[in-house]
């Protein structure tokens, strides 16, 4: 049962991930990205990390992707109308193929660590309590640095969106 759902989610997320880059219409791309993110959230649920899953949906699917859509609609981008394959697309396909081969070789050379142990050290790893506790003890400093990262982003947004004199 678990394997079935995992495979289903994996296939759907990979398929929609591919559709993100294969779609001509940017809006459709974003919507497929939403689907990918929701699938990843579902995978988090299967890893018994429902909190992370909810955060994933709220932040990525619910907020960031909505802003993506928002901007796309503001810009009113039409479909990309490139007829023939451009030089960049060919390069991209070649690079992607090479990367895929390298990744496949890597995965074959290295058996997936089915039970490397460290994920099982803490039961309830993905629960709200565990996430909160590690966020405010062990990872307090990164957490606070991230807030300054966001501050830098806000200052940047203010600067870049300033009305031209």
């Amino acid at each position: 049962m678990e394997a079935f759902f995992f495979l289903l989610l994996a296939v759907v997320s990979i398929f929609s991930g591919l559709m993100v880059i294969l779609q001509k219409s940017p809006v459709a791309s974003v919507l497929f990205l939403v689907l990918t993110l929701v699938c990843v959230a579902a995978l988090f649920v299967m890893l018994s990390a429902p909190f992370i899953a909810a955060i994933q949906v709220i932040i990525y699917a619910g907020a960031i992707m909505v802003l993506f859509l928002f901007v796309l609609m503001l810009l009113n981008l039409q479909r990309f109308t490139e007829g023939a394959w451009s030089r960049f697309q060919i390069t991209g396909v070649v690079v992607a193929a090479v990367l895929a081969v390298v990744t496949a070789l890597l995965l074959r050379a290295v058996p997936l660590p089915a039970d490397s142990g460290f994920l099982r050290e803490t039961p309830g790893l993905g629960s709200v309590e565990a996430v909160g506790l590690s966020l405010f003890t062990e990872y307090l400093l990164p957490f606070e640095i991230a807030s300054f990262l966001l501050l830098a982003g806000i200052i940047g947004a203010v600067i870049l969106s300033r009305r031209r004199p």
């Binding site: 142990g117 050290e121 003890t137 307090l140 990164p142 830098a152 200052i155 004199p165």
Partner: protein
């Protein structure tokens, strides 16, 4: 709760900077629409306060915050470098910003928040902290690169830097994820223990993880083949920002690289040695050869900074104490030369922002002898002429590489230095020998002049007392956990 785990001394300097960001924003808000002077003064005060705190807490921190940061001498040394750069660009900046009508208070808060990110890159003993520091630094830099929205090249620089930088960040994060997948931790202590203890340190995901980490960091250092952004970004960005970008982030990237790779250097296996070897050789050569034929001083300096990243890689490759200490010394002198050179470049620019022609320097030696002399100091320092600081930086790094057995690479580096003489000296030739092209005079800007003079003084001073500075650098390296 055990509060001793949160030792604020370890992060005292970035903490002051973080508070300073908020203070500067507040001061800027309260000081009215037209007046940016209070924000500048506040920013200078913050940098000085941070420097004072940095000196007061020199090598007293130790590892804290659950092993996330280490407030050791290494972090303090780098913090001082970053703060010096910040001080100089904040001191010199207003004149440039006024000239281009882009004098906004956010310039100061962005510089400070960026320096704060760098401080965490230098102090981080956990890949997460290093990553977040790098992102904080970069995000501020992306915005600073596009600080002149009226100019298309500035927008282009910002966008290019953002897109490529985010891509590089992706590599870094993926590398961190793979390392975590292999050892179950992002802690650098666990990382180096694993590398030292494992039979084949790069088995499993470690090989790919370390490779991706390396790509992420070398991008920020502008190492060939990840250097393509740097000439365009340095060229398009406002020149005060270029001065800042070419100096401090490079130092921060090397600080992070030393944090990650210095300890397990002896266990860096053969393939990694070869990769670094090739990267270093390529970076020096491509950087120098590209710099040869640049008409714009900004692009020339950009390629020169690529070349210097190549020299610096020798120190990482050497992997010994002298190599690491040499990098510290090298960076301490390099940032002053670069900030100085970029600042002089915009001071003498008389054809408008779009053109930074080497011809601007014509006859500078007769019209503004002092400025020309200082520019000469920077150029000679970048070549590495004794007794200037640049010489000793190269000397230490090259010696370390020879000690570690990389004789051929050092030969390449020396040959490259010889090549670089050509384009650095060309600036001096133009300053002292080319006829005047009836250009308008160079403005006299006391504060900026003072900043350039400070740079020149530091380049000379570090060349006079290289031994004692190197001792400090050695102690800093030794204090790393």
């Amino acid at each position: 709760m055990d509060l001793s785990r949160f030792n604020l001394i370890t992060i005292a300097t970035p903490l002051v900077l973080g508070a300073g960001v908020l203070l500067v924003m507040l001061v800027d808000l309260l000081s009215g629409r037209a007046n940016r002077r209070p924000a500048q003064l506040a920013a200078l005060a913050v940098v000085l306060a941070a420097a004072a705190v940095c000196l007061a807490t020199w090598n007293t921190g130790g590892v804290s915050f659950f092993g996330q940061v280490s407030g050791d001498g290494f972090a303090s040394f780098f913090n001082l470098i970053f703060l010096a750069v910040a001080f100089l660009v904040i001191l010199a900046g207003p004149a440039y910003l006024e000239r281009n009508a882009i004098h906004f208070g956010e310039y100061y808060s962005l510089v400070l928040v960026s320096v704060m990110g760098m401080a965490f890159m230098a102090a981080g003993t956990n890949l997460l902290v290093i990553f977040l520091g790098l992102e904080t630094m970069s995000l501020a830099l992306y915005v600073l690169a596009g600080f002149n929205p009226a100019r298309q090249s500035s927008n282009e620089a910002s966008l290019k830097y953002l897109l490529l930088g985010s891509f590089a960040t992706g590599f870094l994060v993926f590398g961190i994820a793979l390392v975590y997948g292999q050892i179950g931790s992002t802690d650098l202590a666990r990382f180096s223990a694993y590398l030292a203890g494992a039979g084949d340190p790069f088995a499993g995901y470690m090989g790919a993880g370390v490779a991706l980490l390396l790509i992420g960091l070398t991008f920020k250092m502008a190492v060939v083949p990840f250097h393509f952004w740097s000439p365009d970004v340095y060229d398009g960005a406002p020149t005060v920002v270029s001065a800042f970008m070419s100096a401090a982030p490079k130092a921060a990237a090397f600080a992070a690289a030393l944090r990650i790779f210095y300890a397990p250097a002896e266990s860096l296996g053969l393939p990694w040695e070869r990769i670094l070897w090739i990267l270093a050789a390529l970076t020096m050569t491509v950087g120098n050869l590209s710099a040869l034929n640049q008409a714009s001083i900004k692009r020339m300096l950009a390629y020169s900074s690529v070349a210097h990243a190549g020299y610096l890689l020798l120190g990482i490759l050497a992997g010994n104490e002298l190599g690491a200490a040499g990098i510290l010394f090298y960076l301490a002198s390099y940032v002053f030369m670069n900030v100085g050179a970029f600042t002089v470049a915009w001071m003498v620019n008389r054809r408008g922002e779009g053109r930074y022609d080497l011809g601007d320097f014509a006859q500078l030696g007769f019209r503004r002898p002092l400025l020309a002399a200082m520019m000469s100091v920077f150029m000679l320092g970048l070549i590495g002429i004794p007794p200037l600081a640049g010489f000793f930086g190269k000397l230490y790094v090259f010696t370390a590489a020879v000690q570690a057995g990389y004789v051929w690479l050092v030969v390449i580096a020396v040959l490259n230095s010889a090549v670089s003489v050509f384009y650095y000296l060309r600036v001096m030739v133009i300053m002292y020998m080319r006829e005047n092209e009836a250009l308008k005079d160079v403005d006299r800007i006391p504060a900026t002049f003072a900043a350039v003079a400070a740079c020149a003084l530091m380049v000379i001073l570090l060349g006079l007392i290289p031994g004692s500075v190197l001792d400090v650098a050695r102690a800093a390296v030794a204090s790393m956990p």
